[in-house]
């Protein structure tokens, strides 16, 4: 019996050890996501998600994306992303069909509302994907935008 409980304890201890090292991993991933590194240069949405560690992002209706359904001019697409998720620290904006899909990353400081309005270029019709980071978790939402005139070409 004693031997059994001893084994049990070691297993629990090693499991927590793994959890801790996983915890250590996430800040380093956050560092890797800083600008100048790859996520901003990657060519596909999946790659971006992998690099920022958001592959397991949950769809959430607490994220609102305000974007035009039809954008006449792809060079200027106004997009507002608002997150009602508590503890939102970062918002990523991804234009799925752009040569480099990750367009912007916003990091919010103390007191800032997790809502951001800016304008993006979109080469083709596609989804605007928002990735929101709150605590250690990622949430996502998307909105389709139809572009009648691309904004990435000459």
């Amino acid at each position: 019996m004693k031997r059994r409980s001893f084994l049990k304890n070691t297993i629990i201890a090693s499991a927590t050890g793994v959890a801790v090292s996983a915890g250590i991993l996430s800040p380093s991933m956050a560092l890797a996501a800083k600008h100048g590194d790859d996520p901003f240069k990657s060519k596909s949405v999946d790659e971006v998600l992998k690099m920022i560690g958001a592959t397991a992002a949950e769809a959430s209706d607490k994220i609102k994306i305000k974007a035009p359904e039809i954008a006449e001019n792809g060079a200027v697409v106004p997009v507002t992303i608002t997150s009602k998720i508590e503890g939102t620290t970062e918002i990523y904006s991804i234009s799925s069909n752009n040569p480099t899909p990750l367009s912007a990353k916003y990091t919010f400081g103390e007191g800032a509302e997790a809502s951001i309005k800016s304008r993006f270029k979109m080469g083709k019709s596609g989804d605007v994907v928002a990735i929101v980071k709150a605590g250690d978790k990622f949430y996502t939402a998307k909105a389709a935008v139809k572009v009648t005139k691309g904004g990435c070409g000459g």
Binding site: K34, H35, G36, F40, A75, V76, V77, P78, S95, N98, P99, T100, P101, L102, S103, A104, K105, Y106, T107, F108, G109, E110, G111, A112, E113, S115, I116, K117, S118, R119, F120, K121, M122, G151, C152, G153, G154
Partner: protein, 106 residues
Amino acid sequence: MAKSTIKLRTKVKGDKVQVKALITHPMHTGLVKNKKTGEKIPAQYITEVLVEANGKPVLTANWTGSVSKNPFLSFNYAGKEGDAIKLSWKDNTGKSDSIEKTVGKK
């Protein structure tokens, strides 16, 4: 001195302050060709925008060439009249600019 590339507006809305900024910048992706010469226009875009209120960062934006020309930015933060707002940007060619303003004053 050259005219500032940044237009910054602040507005007090209850216990919040709305910050709006317009930056004059070409935001070249590096993918567009010059129609006359057929040569690619080299990439030049803003990589980082930092907004500070009373010395504390309230918003950091990391941008790419996918952000529109003459980028516009708007957000709110919990603040009050008299806060010192500073906005600064850097681009990939090493250029930068910054502006300082007091909330509530034109």
